[in-house]
């Protein structure tokens, strides 16, 4: 059991599955095969979550490492490993992929094979991003996500899908190419101070913090822009509403639930541990941007008449909390941020699934198109209500704990920022409850909505796990927090206790 390369299996299972789909003919067989592959990956991920040892501290678990490209003076390794933060993100990915496959069962009828192959390739690349322990490998997975996502939005999306998919692609590429140059600079810097250049993330984290101020600031900025585009942080957010509105339900869910987290993950994993001094210097700016994102996103939500666009802007607002928590550099704040990453994945993923349900039935998604839906679709209304409450952070549900921890951390570090950010919580309640009122309460406004069928079996199956987790994490957030605590502490250590990581030369 110890020698099984579980992480490789997790990554390559969906990739091989995607290739295997090319040999399946019937559409329903393709759907079933795709669901089967993603469920198998979910089972592997579940097994890893159970065997993961929270007490082992920040050390990487299930490590794998062997030489990949060792030529022309390069030393690139295929190394994987998992800590608590990676575990929570991997679990989220593994959970949501089968759910979106279920949700797309009936709604995707054109080029089914290509759709599921793209989705599985995307899943493989997402696992790779979270598990890579070599910076080059990380970058390869990071970029490998682009093409499947481009196709998901651009082929199976709405009317303006081409524009939206290109915008998504080019924004992300812009950020990541700058990051590539920064990655190379890190590699060469490690070569100068260690004697041999390395892409190993652990060794880079030991040697890069001692870099002098000027270059460190530049490199931090290059990484931070790439991640800020992905999060997305104001003013880099403009690709997000377009991508979300045009993407098919599956694309929206994966985008919101997992892809956006990669920005925050990048801050925790790379930008802060590699460049602590620069991160501390840039913290006021990052906090200001995250507070602006929180308030600006919430205000934009108030003005939307398109449900998908509203939820897209709510992501900007919620992810602002995540970045705020991370850059408070307090344990509560960062722990809350990681928990919020999971929570946002669950509740926003569920929201996009829910919007997809009525969109499949009516091909409309304006707030005005609906009204009084509680009458024809009572179960739908109930689930929507629960998810709405989770999204606005009602105590007892998952959203509350994360938001509370973030605000507590921010309050200790930057009181004013926390006060303004708390405004975002209030605005969040306003726009979400207003959306709920307009969609569900009162008499049925449009006659065509009177006979809408309630949630069908597949839709129930897709939503049930999310509902369970929303309640479960509300009662027992410790399920996540206990596993992420050592990793979060480790990634902040270089900022909060600079002495502990100085003098990497002696260490080696």
């Amino acid at each position: 059991m110890d020698n099984v390369p579980w992480l490789s299996i997790l990554i390559w299972l969906p990739a091989v599955g995607a290739a295997a789909l090319l040999f399946v003919r019937a559409e329903n067989a393709v759907r079933a095969a795709s669901a089967g592959v993603s469920l198998a990956a979910a089972a592997v991920a579940g097994m890893l979550a159970v065997t993961f040892e929270p007490a082992a501290g920040a050390a990487m678990q299930f490590p794998e490492s062997f030489s990949w490209i060792d030529a022309g003076g390069l030393d690139i390794r295929y190394s994987l490993g998992m800590d608590g933060i990676a575990l929570s993100m991997v679990a989220l990915t593994a959970l949501l992929t089968p759910l979106v496959i279920l949700a797309s069962w009936k709604s995707i009828t054109d080029r089914v094979r290509g759709f599921h192959a793209s989705l599985l390739l995307l899943e493989a690349a997402m696992f790779g991003v979270f598990l890579a322990r070599d910076l080059f490998l990380f970058y390869v997975f990071w970029e490998a996500m682009l093409l499947p996502m481009l196709l998901l939005i651009g082929v199976w999306g709405g009317p303006r899908r081409v524009y939206a998919s290109l915008k998504f692609f080019i924004y992300t590429l812009a950020g990541s190419l700058l990051m590539l140059v920064a990655i190379l600079a890190c590699y060469l810097h490690a070569g100068k101070s260690l004697g041999a250049p390395t892409f190993d993330i652990g060794r880079l984290a030991a040697v890069l913090p001692s870099m002098e101020g000027g270059p460190q600031n530049l490199l931090f900025a290059a990484f931070a822009i790439a991640f800020a585009i992905k999060v997305p942080l104001f003013p880099f957010h403009t690709w997000l509403p377009d991508a979300h509105v045009e993407a098919p339900t599956a694309g929206s869910v994966v985008l919101a639930a997992v892809l956006l987290k990669m920005g925050a993950y990048g801050f925790l994993r790379f930008a802060i541990p590699f460049f602590p001094a620069a991160a501390a210097a840039f913290a006021p700016l990052m906090i200001a941007l995250s507070v602006i994102s929180i308030v600006f996103g919430a205000l934009m939500c108030m003005a939307q008449s398109d449900i998908k666009k509203l939820i897209a802007y709510s992501s900007v607002s919620h992810l602002g909390f995540v970045v705020l928590g991370i850059f408070s550099f307090t344990e509560a704040g960062a722990q809350g941020a990681v928990l919020q990453m999971v929570n946002h994945g669950l509740s926003t993923g569920a929201l996009f699934l829910l919007v997809g349900v009525v969109y499949d039935r009516t091909h409309r998604r304006g707030v005005d198109d609906f009204g009084g839906l509680a009458k024809p679709m009572p179960a739908y209304a109930a689930v929507f209500f629960l998810v709405t409450l989770s999204s606005i952070g009602l105590p007892g549900l998952n959203g509350f704990v994360g938001e509370f921890l973030v605000l507590k951390g921010a309050f200790d570090a930057h009181r004013a920022a926390a006060v303004v950010a708390a405004l975002g919580v209030i605005l969040g309640a306003v726009y979400m409850l207003r959306l709920y009122r307009d969609m569900f309460w009162g008499p049925v406004t449009a006659p065509r909505n009177e006979k809408l069928p309630d949630l069908a079996g597949l839709e129930r199956a897709a939503l049930a796990p999310l509902v369970v987790l929303i309640i479960l994490l509300g009662i027992k957030p410790d399920l996540v927090l206990r596993r992420t605590a050592p990793a979060v502490e480790a990634s902040l250590r270089s900022v909060t206790r600079p002495a502990a990581v100085e003098a990497p030369h002696e260490r080696r």
């Binding site: 490209i69 060792d70 030529a71 022309g72 003076g73 390069l74 080029r111 290509g114 970058y139 390869v140 970029e143 490998a144 682009l146 093409l147 481009l150 196709l151 651009g154 082929v155 899908r161 081409v162 998919s165 290109l166 692609f169 080019i170 590429l173 812009a174 190419l177 700058l178 590539l180 140059v181 190379l184 600079a185 590699y187 060469l188």
Partner: protein, 495 residues
Amino acid sequence: MNAVEWGVASPILALLGAAFAVVAVDLFFPRSRERGLTELITYAGLVSAMLASWMLEGGVAFNGALISDPLSRFVTMAVLVAAMLATIASADALAARRVPLPEYFALLLSAAAGMVLLAMSHDLITMFLSVEILSLALYILCGITRQDPRSNESAMKYFVLGSFATGFLLYGMTLIYGASGSVFLEGMALKLPGLPSAMVLAGLGLLLAGFAFKIGAAPFHMWVPDVYEGAPTPVTAFMSVAVKTAALGALLRLLVSGLPGQEEGWGPLIGGIAALTMIVGNLGALGQKSVKRMLAWSSVAHAGYALIGLAVAGEGADGRIASAAGPAASLFYAAAYTVMTIGAFLFLMFAGRAPSAASPGREAETYDDLNGLGRRRPWAAAMMTALMVSLAGIPPTAGFFGKFTLFRAAVDADQAILAILAVVTTMVSAAYYLRVIVAMYMKDAPASQADSESAGSPDLSAGLAVAVSAALTLYLGLMPGAVLEWARQAVASLL
């Protein structure tokens, strides 16, 4: 040393022998049997040249005029792979346009022989002769579809401008010879220590102008779009990659082994050319409606990327270049560029309709011709997607790893500004490469076109060539180690 070292020259001899044999077929056999025989002889010539280059020992021959070393072998292999892929795609398409195949293949083989000679040339005279051999063959190949006015225009433009460029080249060589007193690369290196004199600088400038023309680098790139567009597609595919690779190899040898002490002179010059070429090529490609023209402009842009590695070679303390990493990255990039670009050009034949008895066939030309291809021909579209992703520099493909090694060399040489410029222009390039993917997958063909397309069968021989280059593109992206190490040794052998 009176014995003639035929062994070193054997790859060239194999190619020329095949060329003569192909012409003989034309004389002695009836038309009906020409095609099979010429193709067979061409493949035999290419394969035996590959084997000869691969297996024979290195060494200097003909009193130092020719050299066989890892660099020449690297370039020879890239050129011959390109020639092989072009040959696979050629026969059907050109026979349908009533091009006499023996002439065509004889010229293709002579051009390849000129390129291999260029890669092996070890003095200025041989270098110049080989440039002439390959250029003359290519001038004719561009115009070989005589009924097509665009093909005529292409040949004419290439010939007139190309003659100018060889003039520059010759003048530059003369000045370098005047300054150093030697046409041999080692002699030049010995006799030109210290700072570049005005005469050397002038010579270098003219020399680089000549090579920039052959490589298609700005500001000597104006001919590229018209010539590449007008020439028959297999010829375009072949010349766009093989000439560049051969000329880059020769330039590398000339500078690294002949003029290493003059790096202060040529380093910044090449850096400037590379920067300008990246900008001009990518902006030029943005506005095109024809995919073939877009690929022509993109080949200009990629010449700029490939030159980065040479520009950042740097000068070491011992009168040699400072690091082999930059030139090695250039060589690797040339190999990556070869496989991805030749596939992209040949895809235009594959995406259209094969020639048949009834019609001369049709190639895909504009972006709109590719609309809906993902639905009609999923395999063709998937292969082209891999090639476009590679040209745009996205992993896991050859184009990405090539750019990665180039950027590494640039950042390592403290010339990050070149890497950043390359990054910005790469971003621009994504816009036009993605248009191909958008057309294939996200737009639908009008019903009339879809019907007429399905009437003809696809050009499967071109398809085979595209499949091979797509596979090589992925191989070089996932397992670049062996080729990268080879490129490093090729440069190290010059030091």
